[in-house]
Symmetry: C2
Subunit: 298 residues, 2 copies
């Protein structure tokens, strides 16, 4: 499909892409740059991809360059690679917030570069290249965004790339992407972090009990709150406007529950708690979740 | 182990107890009362237990009476059964909040009744007798509470009962129980309900997208927010004091995150997001969770 693909940043997502590209034989050559020495050594030891110490060298002659590093690193990366990008290269990424990075890239006025962002809705609570696996993108959505709708050929090529590694692809504007993800992903993360912080701040006397009885709800939230801190720091800064809006709406809903508790209004609580069951059924129906009780945990 | 056990309320928990009692042959006889006709018919059709229409009849000659119905139903149940309880019966329950129901039971001044509450930390997002299974309690904690420490024989008997069906048992005061569970269980539920409400209140235009991309975090919360509304209404009313306290502490933590986002303070966000990873490791170490990425979901 490609002669050469470069992956910049080879953590959970980047290394899973590398594995999937190898498995599906999607490129004659793959070159890797990761600023971490440990990650670079891990890739060298486990894969046939060429690992570069010089980021600007890594992108030469590549038909597809994938940035898969924290959002805050994009600007420096782009400044380092822009003069070595091949004519008509497809430039993409795997970041979880889009509007701000699109601004950065637009301001660089890159010529003969087809910038089409990707967001694979896939991941786990683990990070680093040793956590990756080739099936990570199977049956998951990948959202593509671009301002230049004339890139039809390149959009289709990138779409095929994601589809070949198992994803379902959807096109969305940068703005809609950031709104939808602020609800489906950024809100749950902010809340999970706040829950775990609340637990940590509780009386140490109960710490063992809280850990022991975490199966009553808490443990599910700790999964999300164990995600990569740098990645999440950058998402919260880049998508701050949407996230603050949705967090305020969340706080209002929580205040409603608090008031119902305070007034011991069974009717209000019942209405609130009854209204939320339907959404899960719709998510299961949409194939985004199974209906196994407890996630199938024993 | 027992000559006769009565289970009052035969939903997810009650019917799982029935299945476990049958499987482990823990009682010569089991009698069931459930106010729902559908539940009663389901039990009659699928189990050898005797199903009663008259609750006061169901407890006669029982050595162990287990109330496994919503907290708000306890008072009426106890008033209906108290004159028919066998001398030296063990009276227990499976409720998720304890202090208020203990007050109710203490005020009834039941004579020759050994009231020892149970809280099996087990359950799924499904309800009703058809959702139960005999392994539900395996390797899960069950918290016993009683004010009368002289019940040594009965405490040990109830402990053995839970251990035989696979649980690990711990004794705790009613007060400590309600504090710990307000953090591990009631807080996550209140928050999950608020998240799902926030989603429901969002612009309908994005509804399909939100469902499609729920794998980015949201779907985990919908599991908890799909739990039984009546059960949760009663828990929030009975444990209101602890829950309000912990929700206020949660709101403070959320405000801290909001402020860090507002000021785009990468350092503060990084500190917050780094502080939360450890708790999951401790929960996994304590055997309350596996370390499979994504709960082992594919």
């Amino acid at each position: 499909m490609f002669n050469k693909i470069t992956i910049i940043g080879c953590g959970l997502i980047g290394s899973s892409l590398l594995r999937a590209i190898d498995k599906k034989k999607l490129s004659k050559e793959v070159s890797i740059y990761d600023k971490s020495k440990e990650a670079s050594i891990f890739i060298k030891n486990n894969f046939s991809a060429k690992v570069f110490n010089d980021i600007s060298e890594s992108v030469k002659e590549s038909d597809l360059v994938i940035i898969s590093s924290p959002l805050s690193s994009y600007k420096e990366i782009l400044l380092s690679i822009k003069s070595n990008l091949k004519k008509d290269v497809i430039l993409t990424d795997t970041g979880s917030a889009k509007k701000e990075i699109n601004k950065i890239i637009s301001n660089l006025n890159l010529e003969n570069v087809h910038w089409i962002s990707s967001h694979p809705i896939a991941g786990t609570e683990f990070s680093g290249p040793e956590s990756g696996f080739s099936e990570l993108f199977e049956n998951r959505w990948c959202i593509l965004s671009t301002e230049n709708q004339n890139n039809t050929k390149e959009i289709n090529k990138l779409k095929s790339f994601w589809e070949t590694i198992g994803s379902k692809v959807k096109l969305m504007t940068f703005e809609d992407h950031d709104h939808v993800l602020s609800i489906t992903s950024h809100l749950p993360h902010a809340v999970a972090y706040s829950i775990v912080r609340t637990v940590i701040n509780d009386d140490d006397k109960f710490k063992n009990e809280i850990i022991q009885y975490s199966a009553s709800g808490l443990r599910d939230f700790t999964r999300i709150a164990a995600s990569d801190p740098i990645m999440w720091r950058d998402i919260f800064i880049d998508n701050s406007e949407n996230i603050l809006k949705v967090l305020n709406s969340f706080s209002e809903n929580l205040e409603e529950i608090k008031k119902a508790i305070q007034s011991k209004s069974g009717e209000k609580l019942n209405n609130i708690f009854s209204s939320t069951r339907k959404l899960r059924k719709e998510i299961i129906k949409a194939g985004q979740e199974t209906d196994k009780p407890n996630f199938g945990r024993k």
